[in-house]
């Protein structure tokens, strides 16, 4: 389970933006699945594939549980740079199929 949380942010979902992303391996289907539990009131499920060099994980939208009234997360890419550094690219689909991209460069806090 990977929990996206800014360092030092209190865990209070009522007051702070606190989406939770879960990664799990679907053993029966032999695939990696990501679910993003979002404050938009839904949990899009994405199916992942790993790059040949093993450094990039890319997830494509599979299906959605919950409402699509406010849009949903659609795509994500995790790129491992080294043990202390990775990047994340997220694409959110707003109502009307308008994508919003966010790039995060995350380094381990010392």
């Amino acid at each position: 389970m990977h929990e996206f949380q800014e360092a030092g942010t209190p865990l209070d979902p009522a007051k702070y933006d606190h989406p939770v992303t879960m990664l799990y391996v679907d053993v029966d289907a032999d695939r990696l699945t990501l679910v993003h539990y979002c404050d938009a009131g839904n949990g899009p499920r994405m199916t992942g594939k790993i790059s040949p060099d093993g450094k990039t994980l890319e997830f494509d939208f599979a299906d959605l549980s919950g409402s699509n009234k406010y849009g949903h997360m659609y795509h994500s890419v995790f790129t491992i740079i080294d043990a202390n550094h990775h990047t994340e690219d997220w694409t959110y689909m707003l109502p009307g199929d308008k994508p919003v991209h966010g790039h995060f460069d995350l380094q381990r806090a010392k």
Partner: protein, 201 residues
């Protein structure tokens, strides 16, 4: 901006609504830059993508313009656009309900007019009127009536002026007035409240 969020809708929508309120209130003026995504995310402890989503909504609505390398700016005409939208929404969604209630209750234009806030404060030869012009005239007539009756006797009574009942309320005024003799005299204050429908104060 408030740092509290509610559960009624996603944070990016609430963020969008707060910027809209700031534009309508004139806090953010046309041509003003929006705070950077990074700053808002850090200050309000939200995911930068959440801020981006809120800002993108404003761009899609034509309220904000993104200038490459410079940031986002309030568009010219954004306030008018919002007002136009809000007026249309009021007329389409709220007014029919209000109008139906007015019809159902059989309220007249005069009764609706008298619901506007009317406040008269009588101090030491000081009169302050707030409200419509007709309300001010009514208050002036009421004052003359009260003075004829005597201030002390008027408190707690109801005076009919132009077919409208005004209830006279009074109490010590928070301020004091220094009378010509040099002695501090307490002021009296009164509020004229239309009745019976709505208590105005």
């Amino acid at each position: 901006m408030d740092r509290e969020w509610n559960d009624s809708q996603p944070i990016y929508r609430q963020l969008r609504d707060r910027v809209v309120a700031m534009i309508l209130d004139g806090v953010l003026k046309e041509g003003d830059p929006l705070p950077s995504v990074r700053n808002v995310a850090s200050e309000y402890r939200v995911n930068p993508l959440t801020v981006l989503k809120g800002y993108q909504q404003l761009v899609d609505e034509g309220l904000v313009e993104s200038k490459r390398g410079l940031g986002m700016f309030i568009n010219t005409g954004a306030r008018n656009l919002l007002l136009q939208g809000e007026r249309q929404r009021f007329l389409a969604e709220e007014w029919p309900r209000v109008h139906a209630s007015i019809q159902r209750l059989g309220l007249t234009p005069e009764e609706l007019d008298c619901c506007r806030k009317t406040q008269v404060v009588i101090g030491w030869r000081t009169v302050e009127n707030r409200g419509s012009r007709s309300a001010a005239k009514r208050s002036a007539k009421a004052m003359a009536c009260i003075e004829a009756r005597g201030l002390r006797k008027a408190f707690g009574t109801t005076i009919a002026v132009d077919g409208i009942n005004l209830r006279v309320e009074g109490g010590p005024h928070p301020r004091t007035h220094r009378a010509p003799t040099g002695r501090a005299r307490p002021q009296r204050s009164m509020r004229f409240c239309a009745s019976p429908h709505i208590r105005l104060s």
